[in-house]
């Protein structure tokens, strides 16, 4: 991964955001606050959410006709679940200008890039794959806030034929939100995010589902404390978004899940064998590593994900 320090100042005349939820809405708010965008048009499937977005001043205008949204836009941001992006791209094709930059905010990059290439053809040089490493478990435009990306990483995974000018504009846009920019290789991105983000989500969803299935489920949840609720916070995330991530980053997630389960199996062996020093060594090491990295995370971050 490499950081890009020489960012151009963003100026976006007309921005179309597809999916004005937590991610798209927070981007809109941050760009507005930075004064780098003139007009934002929102598009999405839920009219009530779009109306709320306009009422909250997050967007200037909304439509459910995607061709209307992208016509004349200098930038289109795909902020839908990754599984919806192919249909969205396909339906905007008729209205898409060759100078319009398209970018996304998906947590998976490999499948998204393949999909964009197959739909946009040579026009895919104007597609800049991006992933802001930020979010909360809350959904919808009401949950969006301008500071979401401040001091957080946004990873770009451009291809050899991606337009350098388009990359620079997307970087400028994200820089205006207060984010730090990085460029990464697609495979590396998808493997790392599978470990740091996708795997924990799978584990948390599975734990809540497991507990809910127990005979003693009611007592379990009644007696669960803050530790449990923090551990499973991410299991309150957008189910469709995470279903899509599991499908689109399937191989990397399966790899991480298998690696993790074999680590867990090892720890299980130590517990079964009553090997106190082996158990303690793992716990001491984990605590030390986490405490160290958490301190660094807090030092560089001002807002909660």
């Amino acid at each position: 991964m490499s950081a890009n320090q020489s960012l151009i100042q963003a100026h976006i005349r007309r921005l179309a955001i597809v999916g004005v939820g937590l991610i798209g809405g927070s981007l809109a708010r941050a760009l507005r606050e930075a004064g780098v965008v003139e007009w934002i048009i929102g598009v999405g499937r839920q009219a009530d959410n779009l109306m709320a977005a306009q009422r909250l001043g997050v967007i200037d205008e909304w439509t459910q006709d995607i061709t209307k949204a992208v016509a004349g836009a200098d930038m289109v941001v795909l902020a839908t679940p990754v599984g919806a992006m192919a249909a969205v791209l396909q339906s905007m094709l008729p209205a898409l200008s060759k100078t319009t930059i398209i970018t996304d905010a998906g947590s998976v990059k490999g499948e998204v890039v393949n999909m964009a290439r197959s739909i946009l053809g040579s026009g895919s040089s104007m597609f800049v794959p991006a992933h802001p490493i930020a979010g909360t478990e809350n959904t919808g435009v009401e949950a969006s806030f301008a500071a979401l990306y401040r001091q957080r990483y946004v990873i770009l995974t451009p291809q050899p034929d991606t337009s350098e000018a388009a990359i620079a504009t997307v970087e400028g846009m994200w820089a205006a939100t207060g984010a730090h920019l990085l460029r990464m290789n697609i495979v590396e991105h998808d493997k790392i995010l599978a470990a740091t983000s996708h795997l924990p989500h799978v584990l948390a969803y599975a734990l809540v589902d497991y507990m809910a299935g127990l005979e003693e489920a009611d007592t379990c949840f009644e007696l669960a404390a803050g530790g449990f609720f923090d551990f499973t916070r991410i299991a309150s995330s957008h189910p469709v978004m995470w279903r899509d991530i599991c499908l689109q980053n399937r191989r990397a997630i399966l790899l991480r899940l298998d690696q993790y389960m074999s680590q867990l199996q090892q720890l299980r062996t130590y517990i079964d064998a009553q090997d106190g020093s082996a158990i303690e060594a793992i716990f001491v090491h984990a605590k030390k590593v986490r405490d160290t990295h958490l301190a660094a995370y807090h030092d560089s971050s001002t807002c909660d994900e």
Copy 2:
């Protein structure tokens, strides 16, 4: 489980707390704040921690001689890791009066009760096994605070021969901290806590340890966001305390771990088979269950665990 509503007002003349850390220190602070204790003597292995406890006004006096601490005490609270309790009980025997009530704050009850019975013999009727369901990942007396137990559950697992008067006094003590009291069967307690608390701790420690072992560990931790740090918050907990819990509640933890891993294996199968609707069903269900119980948890709780 059953709630006990008819609590007597606690009054403790001389309280000995063995282990003046987060748990013991918070109990001392809460009892002092409630004005139900006259004198608190702290005992433990780390003199600097005991000095800090006295300086902070958490305890009145400290000693490293456990017989001195328990002599003349009407209540002794064991707030050490569960693995240390046998040695602690053994060493206080010579100074223990027949009227002194002993209670503990351990997260495992089966092994603790067996241990108390074998060391105290017929005197074990004065041992009231208890478990406050509260804590944070922070350790030491500096991390203690009076509100830790407010609106949280304290579970008692008394035996048929446990003195009813001793039980009532221990319940009165915990009620004075603002906690809700419950009585539970030992086996039920250990199985439920294995699911709601011990399993998540094992999973979190294992995840941090797994990530730390990856070739890309540095990049992983650099790019980890709030979701990851919340998920692994409990991996910053006291390693020796959790080692002891794993050893002492081994069977229930192994049961929960095996059940959870087979649930995870099921979810893995769905991801591998690209079965979007099966994945989505699990995620939707988990989110719904968690959101429901979290709302109830917040309604009934004023302080963070």
